[in-house]
């Protein structure tokens, strides 16, 4: 049994943000995550750092929050943010009054929006449709949600927090209105660990109700699925937004070597219904192609969906619900030391974390104040690294390596095959993979993917998968075929809805490799799939 002051449930961006904030205030804490960090809605979002403009007209609270956080995050987390800027565009048949309301609302909410001429817009974004009639510049940016989450986790660990992935909460032991013990299963080896926290924070996003139900509570919330499609190639320089009342298929975000288009809004009943459908893909391509016509002829590489945990449970459409967040102190419902947090956005995670931490700190009687808006998330001495390795490699590796840049570079330069490029789509070095394979958090091949971007490129793991596997087995005793099948099944979920035109051909070739050379036919896969279900 382990005593701790705070137990945080959920390793998404909210949980990670709270962990960092509280740890920096000096709280003793443990964070548990049932899967890998950022594997829920955090890792399945658009990767958009909102300027607030999208919500300015209809959801001013969210807009104000986003505008303030946008500036803060660009300052404290620049390692994972690409400050691309964004443009809102009105098309010919759009409601033109909306554009004026948009501009005045932006002023009121503190969003820095500025109208530019159509010519200027086309100069900035040559791929834009010639049909646009008005354009506004905003400080939107593209953010890597995986790195942002891991950055918060590592920052928290630096302040002595304990963060555990693959630890699933099984049970609460409640004694006279207080959660006395939390029983957690370690999914790596099936062992059971017991924590005795003073306060439990439920930051499990879409799973918040499931966790609350362990304490016989229920939270009023709505689960809303948003799907996105990854388009091959970077078609825009910055973010492109459709200037209209927020609806589906409005946004194009450039991210690494691809463009991500989205989103949809569909009410779902369970957090596990996170699969994008073919209809959604068709819809998104059709809608966004009105802004960037080339999307219609580009290859759709992958589709994915995240579940937004929205506040409230009224039966209106998901788009109508405010994107702000809600803090629930369950002491009113009879559990003294239990707090839940739902809603919010990736952009406002820090603010949410600050509010939660304020509440927790007041309950614990901690005196430290919040420093997350001032202190940069990670501080690495880059000069030392640049002296040891070519800067083109160093920039890319250091950006991804959080606090470990020195160790990662050491692996790359000292290991026999450390400088080999394993994944040529994302230029991932074998040394990087080798470092992360030995990291305590990594269990599956897809964990490596979140940390290094291996297999996320336009071949979707088709060619690098064997190099990835061969690195992994150097450092692990696991059955390589099982690892391979798990990875392929995970990648396939996202490829299935985009199985047409270019990607279909691509998958045919992969089929040759995987089914032909490796003989992973339906039968042997079936055997593993059965194992996975168990």
């Amino acid at each position: 049994m382990q005593r701790t002051e705070v137990l945080i449930i959920g390793g998404g961006i909210t949980g990670a943000g709270i962990a960092r904030d509280l740890a920096c205030r000096g709280a003793e804490l443990v964070l548990v995550e049932a899967s890998d960090f950022s594997n829920g809605a955090t890792g399945r979002c658009h990767g958009m750092l909102h300027s607030g403009a999208r919500y300015a007209v209809n959801d001013p609270i969210s807009a104000t929050e986003c505008a303030a956080e946008n500036t803060i995050l660009k300052r404290i987390a620049n390692f994972c943010i690409e400050d691309t800027g964004g443009i809102f565009v009105s098309l010919k048949n759009d409601d033109l009054d909306y554009a004026d309301r948009f501009l005045s609302s932006c002023k009121k909410t503190g969003v820095a929006a500025k109208e530019i001429t159509v010519e200027e817009a086309l100069k900035k974004e040559p791929m834009l449709s010639k049909e646009i009639v008005r354009a506004f510049e905003v400080p939107d940016a593209s953010v890597d949600p995986f790195l942002l989450t891991l950055g918060n986790i590592e920052s928290a660990r630096e302040a002595n927090a304990i963060a555990l992935n693959y630890h699933s909460v099984r049970e609460f032991e409640i004694n006279e209105g207080v959660i006395d013990k939390v029983i957690v299963e370690n999914l790596r080896n099936g062992s059971v660990e017991i924590f005795k926290p003073e306060i439990v924070v439920n930051a499990s996003g879409a799973w918040a109700n499931k966790i609350a139900s362990l304490a016989n509570l229920s939270i009023e919330m709505t689960l809303d699925k948003g799907s996105m499609v990854v388009i091959n190639g970077r078609l825009t320089n910055g973010l492109i937004n459709r200037l209209r009342k927020p609806s589906s298929g409005d946004i194009i975000v450039p991210s690494y070597s691809s463009s991500i288009i989205g989103t949809t809004s569909i009410r779902v009943d369970s957090p596990n219904e996170n699969k994008a459908t073919e209809e959604e893909v068709d819809f998104l391509i059709r809608e966004t192609a009105m802004m960037i016509p080339d999307i219609a002829i580009s290859r759709a590489v992958r589709a994915y969906a995240g579940i937004r945990p929205l506040c409230g449970s009224d039966r209106s459409c998901g788009r109508e619900i405010s994107r702000t967040f809600q803090l629930i102190d369950h002491s009113e419902q009879g559990i003294e030391n239990f707090i839940s947090v739902i809603g919010g956005k990736l952009t406002t995670y820090r603010l949410m974390a600050e509010r939660v931490s304020d509440l927790v700190a007041s309950k614990l009687g901690l005196s430290g104040s919040c420093k997350t808006a001032i202190d940069p998330l990670l501080s690495v001495n880059r000069e030392d690294i640049h002296a040891r390795i070519a800067s083109s490699i160093a920039n890319r590796v250091v950006r991804k390596s959080l606090l470990f840049a020195n160790d990662v570079i050491q692996r790359c330069t000292e290991e026999l095959r450390g400088m080999e490029v394993v994944c040529s789509c994302e230029e991932v070095l074998r040394g990087e993979l080798s470092y992360w394979c030995n990291h305590q958090d990594v269990k599956e091949l897809s964990d490596l993917m979140r940390r290094t971007r291996v297999g996320m490129g336009y071949c979707q793991g088709g060619l690098c998968i064997f190099g990835l596997l061969s690195t992994m087995i150097d450092h692990s005793d696991r059955d390589p075929m099982e690892l391979l099948v798990r990875f392929i099944i995970e990648r396939e979920r996202g490829v299935e809805p985009v199985l047409f035109r270019g990607q279909l051909k691509e998958e045919f070739f992969k089929e040759h490799l995987i089914n032909g050379v490796y003989h992973l036919d339906a039968y042997s896969r079936g055997e593993y799939e059965k194992d996975l279900e168990r």
Partner: protein
């Protein structure tokens, strides 16, 4: 107005993959005038070079690993459904192999062993039981006796496609062979970071320094049999391997790696065979339209870079394959639309979203689309009419496309049977 060149031939074959080249070789050997046209890469060259004759009707590769399967149990592509006479099919397979093998031998390839699957061949990380005889083309010979020897797998740093550690681990796991060990060596000319392209490597193999480095590395290994990645090109493959064996005194064999594309070697061998038989091979021409009078096709217009060619023929064979050619239809989109005058069989009530299959099974299902033909391989027009002198062969036919159909096995077998019918058509 583009210039049009007029050509006349007995047989025009569209498609230069396994089915096209093999049909061309067979027909030429009967003294017919054959013209083969094709464009771009073929599925054959991208394939694993596996020639499999045993697949069931669901498109699954034979399910039981432990059982030896004889040809008499072989299952045929969809087009043979009407005469499911295994005796007939077996006889055809034997006749076909008898024709094919000597011609491939002439191209510098050796086949050892009979056509059954119960043979052991070490491949990189592949399941050895799945490797049938075509993969042996890529290697030296019969490796059945390897299980008693000490085997070493030698990786070359920079040749990223072959990782002996992973291969040795999987082979020991899957085949229960404990006698496989892994070694690495560095060839000084090899670029390490981005790796070497196979053609660059093949080019380097002519270099004396390279051969010496490789031979020295092999001599350092204390094992009888040593597997190296497929680095030699088709043309001097045998020579180099023999030389290496002489220098080192070891038994050397090649392993098949994921991207070494053993299919490319097979494709090259077939191409040389077709050329030797006297086929006229025009690569870079794309068929654009057909002139059909009544129930006979008279000529085809082929588009080239600078001028078009109109080819008059007695018989037309369409061998454009399922992957890159005109046969594949998926989600209602035709990938290439050269042949949309032909009838395409569609699967009833087929949608992706409500299926429980993964992507790869889905592809298997999609691949079932193809041109409609009867058991004599004659193609049908969209209007439902059967064309007298247009035949299909290979994966372009319904149900033959890899992986739902038979892959190379199906392509060769349908081509073999198609050529017989083509000869009949010409005699009429």
């Amino acid at each position: 107005m583009r210039k049009i060149l007029n050509v006349e031939t007995d047989i025009l074959i569209i498609g230069h993959g396994a089915a096209g080249l093999f049909s061309g070789a067979v027909l030429s050997s009967f003294g017919k005038q054959v013209m083969i046209v094709g464009e771009g890469a073929t599925s054959t060259s991208l394939s694993t070079g596996n020639i499999i004759f045993q697949r069931d009707f669901d498109g699954n590769v034979e399910k039981r690993k432990d059982r030896e399967i004889t040809i008499s149990e072989a299952l045929m592509p969809y087009v043979f459904r009407e005469h499911l006479d295994t005796e007939f099919i077996n006889a055809e397979i034997r006749a076909m192999t008898a024709f094919l093998l000597p011609r491939l031998n002439n191209c510098g390839l050796v086949l050892n062993g009979s056509i059954n699957r119960n043979q052991v061949l070490l491949t990189n990380t592949g399941f050895p039981y799945s490797c049938t005889f075509a993969q042996m083309f890529a290697s030296k010979g019969d490796l059945t006796n390897l299980s008693e020897k000490d085997i070493a797998l030698l990786g070359l740093l920079g040749y990223k496609d072959f990782d002996p550690d992973l291969a040795a681990l999987l082979i020991s796991k899957i085949m229960n062979m404990k006698n496989v060990s892994a070694y690495w060596t560095q060839i000084s000319e090899f670029r390490r970071r981005y790796g070497m392209h196979p053609t660059e490597v093949a080019h380097l193999t002519h270099n004396d320094g390279f051969q010496e480095q490789l031979a020295n590395a092999i001599k350092d290994i204390d094992c009888d049999a040593i597997g190296i990645p497929p680095i030699f090109s088709l043309l001097d493959y045998q020579l180099r391997m023999t030389e290496l064996e002489k220098r080192t005194g070891r038994e050397i064999f090649e392993v098949v790696t994921p991207l070494s594309l053993p299919g490319l070697r097979f494709h090259e061998a077939l191409r040389l065979a077709a050329r030797k038989e006297g086929c006229r091979l025009s690569e870079g021409l794309k068929a654009s339209s057909l002139r059909i009078i009544g129930r006979r096709a008279e000529s085809a217009i082929l588009k080239g870079k600078f001028m078009d060619t109109e080819v008059k023929f007695g018989c037309l064979m369409i061998c454009t394959g399922g992957l890159l050619g005109g046969g594949l239809i998926a989600n209602g989109n035709k990938i290439a639309d050269s042949f949309d005058i032909f009838q395409v069989e569609k699967m009833p009530n087929f949608t992706y979203s409500n299926t429980k299959y993964g992507v790869h099974s889905l592809i298997q299902m999609i691949a079932n689309y193809g041109l409609k033909a009867d058991s004599s391989m004659h193609l049908y027009l969209k209007t439902g009419e059967r064309l007298e002198n247009v035949l299909g062969a290979g994966s372009v036919l319904e149900g033959c496309s890899f992986p739902a159909g038979l892959g190379l096995g199906g392509a060769l077998l349908t081509a073999w049977i198609s050529t017989k019918n083509a000869l009949e058509v010409l005699d009429q």
